[in-house]
């Protein structure tokens, strides 16, 4: 309600007060809310009378029905109560007279009305309320308004006389205190309220005052941000590289030859270290004559060979220079990736360089929407559209904090990659001399023009090795920001301090810069903060002072680097300030490493794998020994921790690393590689153990239980390999082997079967081109099935194992397979017959005769053909040894083999039938005849290749064939 805060004007108040007593009752009767309003008005009177109201409330309400005439009014009033409170005065004005009239009209009806009601009409006549007590005759009571106005109200005598009871109630209320307690409270509250109001308004005005200068004062970081290329603080080398890269876009972006930077300029850009100079060149004036630039170019190419990244682009340049017409060649890598720790000025460099080269930098950073779709359209907008803005500058896309892009944000990287890929394709089509790394030449000229990258894109990241950036790293030109030299930073800080009138000693600034690791942003913010606080920069307290330590997430690489690389500056200081700096060094390293507790194992492995590559001076190998000792300690610590679950011991890991560092750290930059060999070792070991285990499970238990997986390689594999490939076994047809050789072969097969070893087709080359090249590759290469041969295949070691010839292996495969099936069926038969003395014998006897005949026929019919000797069981028994015969040219059974030669089979069988009749060596012809008839009636399940292979098949059991 408005009334709450509105302090009534004094005259109004007065009027109110004067009316209050008169109108009080009827108002209260009809709308009690008025009572609230009045309270809120801080009018003391009604509140003083609340008890009365409450007691009298019921009566008039019950009377409402009695006088209908008043009811519409009442409803009117009710409505008006709802009407805007902005006009309560009107209410008062409007309704008080009728109310009074009403009251008077009601008077006769009310038998025992409250005193006030009765007083009211009287009060109109008499002067009841006045500013001056003297104006009131008789007893009076002083009433103080909230504004401090004091009025005196006449005490009604009737009240006392007629309604003593009421008075008793009222007396204690206003009797003891000169004002009622409610009033006092209200007043105190009011005072407090106004006071706070005043204070707050003052505060507001104050804060407004203080705000104004703050708004006008920029952050120093922004205020002194470099505006031109010369002011850049970052490493000149990087600056120039970036500028050069951007300049290479000129011909592509600006098109016209006049504006395009000539190659000479580009060269000079590279060559000259002075920024001021190459700024001149950037204007487009060629400085060197053509012939001179050639020599310079070659000279420079020699120089820049050291720059790993510069190489590609340099070649590109020199080539295009030779071509004399640069055309629209954007640089090799279309994307520039700047990376480095925060606060070194990456973003600034990107912006300044873009501005310098006449672009308008469009920035997309982490705060923008980076979902794939939006980012792509945005990039396309920037990259392909020409600006319609007034300045007409082409745009240059700056994608800030691209490494933070995860999940959704990966869209940025993907979009860029897509553009680059599309670009590459079209480029390959266009230019044959373009230095493309991609081998696949697509000679399509119609590279989708719509999505090529025609504007420079600069990506900025902190962590070059963020997983999201992996693909980008390959296509982009990467520049790693290095810390600017401390002196440079300090100079700049000094300059700014001078400008701002902030006193800071060079030493203090140096300390600050070092503490923040040359993070200029952090330095400036600190300085500004101190300036604000009117404090001076204290050298000693830099650490403890306001400067917050950056929360740098260092990668494992950084840790390794820190361990392996000594800092030059640090060492200089060490000589001057002795133990103190080494202690801080320790602290620094400790905190650095301990930030990566989870990786402590990885860190250790990394150290182990890389430290031998360092060039530390160690003639007696003592340092190496100590390093390895330390690594060993750390290893056993880890093991202990894992075993006993005392994870708190992990805090000792960093100190071990620091100890190693003190031994081997070098000034020169280490070449750190991701540790692979240990993990590879672990993985392969698991793999090989699995192979062994699987194999172990396949061997029958009576053998395998004596053969432990762990000691197999240790004590049996070499011999086993020797035994499995006996040099005495001649690769000839089996039937040409001597008895003893057959014996050996049988034993070998037996061994292989019992150890479940066989040969397997390992390398199968399907490429037709390869087959054309070398005939030998057509033949399959057979190797041991559980690849036990690999277990002696050490790198750089030539084992004395000579494998068998291919033909021999093929024979063995076949024989082993046969033997295995045989054993299985024997096992089954053994189960079936269960205890019959000779397993399988009676079962097979019935058909043995036919088999014999088949065998003999086959032998006689095809002398030159290799046949399978279908040996009957009886034959086997007679010989006592396994006279296994198989052709060396035997092929592994393939599905394709049985396709053709149905004619061959029929002709063979004709011959077979004939010969079987003719050459009846079998004494049981009577048995033979029906057998053949029966056999012929059955369908052929296998087919026979005449002159080549081995099988005449009818519905016979495999077992029978084998035995």
């Amino acid at each position: 309600m408005d009334m709450e805060t509105d302090i009534p004007l004094p005259d109004e108040l007065e009027w109110l007060e004067s009316n209050a007593l008169l109108d009080q009752e009827p108002d209260l009767d009809f709308y009690p809310p008025f009572e609230e309003e009045e309270e809120e008005d801080h009018l003391p009177e009604p509140s003083a009378k609340i008890p009365e109201n409450q007691t009298s409330k019921k009566r008039p309400r019950s009377n409402d029905d009695d006088y209908d005439a008043s009811s519409p009014k009442g409803s009117d009033e009710k409505r008006s109560r709802k009407s805007p409170e902005a006009e309560p005065d009107e209410d008062w004005l409007r309704y008080s007279p009728p109310a009074a009239a009403e009251n008077s009209a009601l008077d006769p009806v009310i038998d025992a009305g409250p005193a006030d009601e009765v007083v009211a009409p009287v009060a109109v006549e008499e002067k009841v309320l006045s500013r001056f007590a003297s104006e009131i005759d008789g007893e009076c009571i002083s009433v103080t308004g909230p504004g401090g106005d004091r009025v005196y109200a006449k005490m009604s005598r009737w009240e006392m006389e007629n309604d003593g009871k009421r008075l008793h109630v009222e007396r204690p209320l206003n009797g003891l205190l000169s004002e009622p307690i409610n009033v006092l409270i209200e007043r105190v509250e009011q005072e407090a309220f106004t006071k706070t109001l005043q204070v707050s308004s003052e505060a507001v005005s104050e804060s407004v005052h203080s705000n104004i200068p703050a708004a006008s004062e920029q952050l120093w970081v922004d205020k002194y941000a470099p505006n031109s290329f010369t002011e850049l603080l970052s490493d000149e080398q990087t600056n120039r590289e970036v500028l050069l890269w951007l300049k290479q876009w000129d011909s592509c972006v600006f098109g016209s030859q006049i504006r395009a930077t000539t190659d000479d300029v580009l060269f000079s850009l590279r060559r000259h270290s002075s920024i001021a100079q190459h700024q001149k060149f950037a204007d487009g004036k060629s400085y060197f004559s053509m012939n001179r630039s050639t020599s310079l170019g070659s000279q420079f190419s020699r120089q820049s060979n050291g720059f790993s990244q510069g190489d590609g682009s340099l070649k590109g340049i020199s080539e295009s220079r030779n071509k004399k017409s640069p055309g629209n060649n954007p640089p090799e890598q279309k994307v520039l990736l700047l990376c480095g720790p925060p606060g070194l000025g990456k973003t600034t460099l990107a912006h300044v360089a873009a501005k310098h080269c006449g672009y308008r930098a469009m920035e997309i950073n982490a705060s923008d929407d980076r979902s794939s779709s939006t980012i792509e359209s945005k990039i396309l907008d920037v990259v392909q559209m020409n600006s319609v803005m007034a300045d007409g500058k082409p745009k240059c896309l700056v994608i800030d904090e691209i490494d933070g892009a995860l999940g959704e944000g990966k869209g940025a990287v993907e979009a860029i990659l897509k553009l680059v890929a599309a670009d590459k394709k079209s480029l390959i089509g266009k230019e044959s001399n373009a230095q493309e790394a991609k081998p696949g030449k697509l000679s399509s000229r119609k590279g989708p023009k719509a999505s090529t990258l025609s504007r420079p894109v600069i990506c900025i990241c902190n962590d070059l090795f963020a997983p999201a950036l992996r693909p980008l790293r390959q296509v982009a030109k990467v520049h790693t920001f290095v810390q600017p030299t401390v002196s440079r930073v300090v100079n700049r800080l000094k300059y700014i301090c001078n400008k701002e009138g902030f006193k800071a000693s060079a030493i203090a600034l140096t300390a600050l810069a070092e503490f923040t690791e040359c993070d200029i942003r952090s330095c400036l913010n600190t300085l500004q903060f101190l300036n604000k606080k009117k404090e001076t920069l204290n050298t000693l307290e830099v650490g403890s002072q306001v400067v917050g330590r950056k929360d740098i997430s260092k990668s494992v690489y950084d840790v390794w680097k820190e361990v392996f690389q000594k800092r030059k500056a640090k060492r200089e200081r060490k000589s001057t300030s002795g133990s103190n700096s080494s202690a801080t060094d320790f602290d620094f390293l400790y905190s650095l490493i301990s930030n990566r507790y989870g990786d402590s194992e990885l860190t250790m492995v990394g150290i182990h794998e890389n430290f031998l590559q360092l060039h530390y001076h160690d003639p007696m190998m003592q340092k190496t020994v100590m390093c390895l000792n330390n690594l060993g300690v750390s290893d056993s610590l880890v093991q202990y921790m894992m075993r006993t679950q005392q994870m708190s011991l992990i805090v000792y890991q960093p100190s071990i690393m620091i100890a190693i560092r003190s031994l081997i750290a070098q000034v020169e930059k280490p070449n750190i590689e991701w540790p692979k060999s240990f993990h590879r070792y672990r993985a392969t070991l698991m793999e090989k153990k699995d192979i062994l285990k699987l194999w172990h499970n396949k061997i029958s238990p009576s053998i395998s239980r004596h053969l432990s997986v762990e000691s197999f390689v240790e004590c049996s594999v070499s011999q086993l390999l020797h035994i499995l490939s006996p040099p005495t076994l001649r690769p000839v047809a089996l039937h040409l082997l001597s008895e003893r050789e057959k014996d050996d072969l049988a034993q070998l097969v037996d061994t292989m079967v019992s150890y479940s070893i066989t040969y397997k087709n390992l390398k199968f080359e399907p490429q037709p081109s390869m087959q054309r090249h070398e005939e030998a590759s057509d033949a399959p290469v057979l190797s041991f099935d559980p690849p036990i041969g690999d277990f002696v295949n050490y790198k750089g070691y030539h084992s004395g194992h000579s494998g068998l010839s291919l033909a021999m292996k093929q024979v063995l495969v076949h024989e082993v397979e046969k033997q295995r099936i045989m054993q299985e069926s024997i096992g089954r038969l053994g189960i079936l017959n269960d205890g019959s003395n000779s397993e399988g014998q009676p079962f097979l006897r019935g058909e043995s005769t036919t088999e014999l005949s088949i065998k003999s026929k086959a032998m006689t019919a095809s002398v030159q053909s290799y046949t399978v000797n279908l040996k009957s069981t009886s034959g086997l028994k007679e010989n006592g040894s396994k006279n296994l015969a198989a052709p060396c040219g035997l092929k592994l059974k393939g599905p394709g083999e049985a396709k053709k030669a149905s004619s061959g089979s029929s002709s063979f069988f004709d011959r077979f039938r004939k010969s079987s009749k003719k050459g009846s060596q079998n004494d049981n012809d009577h048995l033979q005849q029906p057998a053949t008839v029966e056999r012929d009636s059955r369908p052929f399940l296998f087919k026979f290749n005449e002159g080549f292979t081995n099988a005449v098949k009818r519905p016979v059991r495999i077992r029978e064939l084998l035995l």
Binding site: H608, L612, Q613, L614, Y616, D618, P619, M620, M621, Q622, T624, L628, L631, G632, D635, S636, V638, Q639, Y640, M642, Q645, M647, S677, F678, Y681, L685, K688, K689, L692, N697, P701, S702, R705, H706, S708, E710, S711, V713, E714, C715, S716, S718, Q719, L720, H722, I723, P726, T728, D750, T751, S754, Y755, D790, F791, V792, Y794, G796, Y797, S799, G800
Partner: protein, 373 residues
């Protein structure tokens, strides 16, 4: 079948080596007083052969009919008691109470005995001991004729069991001793806890002496109908490192390579041993971090191919000792022991073997400089 398996003695009576032990075991069985047994000794000494023969002695040919069972056991593990590794803690934070653990275990079992290798389960081995072995031990075989009223559990590679598992084992051994006998088999009894050892009858199975090996070889030669020249036999035995398995395998290799044996026939060496001696030559040739790096690569090669790091270290030491001046031998041995100890404490064997190599290089180089200036 290889001769190793072909001529493996099937009964205690037929033992050629360890006849004494075999007789003792036989006596134990005949007196029906078979305690828990712990067989320990180097690989290739004949522990398992003895165990099998013992089982046959106990149960007759029934013990030979075994079948492989690869069973997945479901073990309920209560949350508080199962945290044996930090990673499990992380894993299980979300799940309170009990959880079911799937343990895959391959067992060889006949009607009378079960063979298993509890250390296959890695760090979960104690559940195997706590749950599975207990489960097996509890059930008494049905044919209680009063005599063979117990079954036998053969636990292999007990020394690889974790300490917790071994502690769980000892209670099982006591509680179910009426219905179940345990036969433990391991390489080194030092890694079996005192408590378990004291509950068993310890049977030390020595590596066979060279004479014994020669005797076995001659026996096999006779059976195969081969004439074994004594020189060759003794050389095979000498090269076998007193491992009978190796000796027999070498013998068969010789047979395969060249039959009519000659007196000075070459016995093919183990490949990995050759490789280790190559490494030793590398080490002696040059001592520098670069060379150490090369050696590391070779060591990895060995370790990858499932050769236990302890064996590599031991062999490397012996190869190095061959090339060493006698006054250094003592020191080098000391350091080898030192680093082997550390290797057992840790988990990354390569660190420690390499540390040994570095130490050796350092000592050797110092020695060279002192002697030759």
């Amino acid at each position: 079948m290889l001769w190793v398996d072909k001529y493996r003695p099937k009964t205690l009576d037929k033992m050629i080596v360890h006849q004494e032990i075999a007789m003792n075991l036989k006596k134990l069985v005949s007196e029906h007083d078979c305690p828990h047994l712990l067989f320990y000794g180097p690989p290739g000494a004949g522990k398992k052969t003895l165990i099998m023969a013992l089982l046959k002695q106990m149960f007759g040919p029934g013990a030979e009919k075994v079948k492989i069972e690869n069973k997945i056991w479901k073990v309920d593990v209560s949350f508080c008691s199962h945290v044996s590794s930090f990673y499990w803690l992380i894993f299980q934070i979300g799940l309170a109470g009990t959880r079911t653990l799937d343990l895959e275990l391959t067992t060889l079992s006949s009607t009378h005995h079960v063979e298993l290798n509890p250390s296959d389960a890695g760090f979960q081995d104690r559940y195997i001991v706590q749950e599975i072995i207990k489960e097996m031990a509890k059930s008494r075989p049905i044919d209680t004729k009063g005599k063979k009223g117990f079954k036998v559990l053969v636990l292999n590679e007990v020394d690889k069991l974790s300490r917790e598992a071994q502690h769980s084992l000892r209670r099982t051994m006591e509680k179910y001793s009426a219905s179940c006998r345990l036969i433990l088999c391991c390489n080194s009894s030092s890694k079996v806890t005192e408590a378990v050892r004291s509950r068993c009858l310890n049977v030390r199975v020595n590596a066979p002496t060279e004479e014994q090996i020669i005797r076995v070889l001659e026996f096999i030669g006779k059976k195969e109908g081969l004439s074994l020249p004594t020189g060759l036999g003794s050389r095979i035995a000498a090269q076998s490192n007193r491992s009978l398995r190796r000796a027999i395998l070498s013998f068969e290799t010789c047979r395969v390579q060249q039959y009519p044996f000659t007196e000075n026939q070459a016995v093919p060496p183990m490949d990995w041993e050759q490789y280790v001696s190559e490494i030793a030559i590398d080490i002696v040739q040059e001592q520098s971090p670069k060379r150490l790096f090369l050696v590391r690569g070779k060591l990895y090669e060995l370790l990858v191919n499932c050769i236990p790091p302890e064996i590599v270290l031991k062999k490397l030491l012996s190869e190095l000792l061959k090339k060493l001046d006698s006054e250094l031998k003592h020191e080098v041995c000391h350091w080898a022991a030192y680093y082997e100890h550390r290797m057992r404490m840790g988990q990354k064997a390569i660190f420690h073997i390499e540390a040994f190599v570095a130490k050796f290089m350092s000592i050797y180089k110092q020695f060279l400089i002192e002697t030759f200036g």
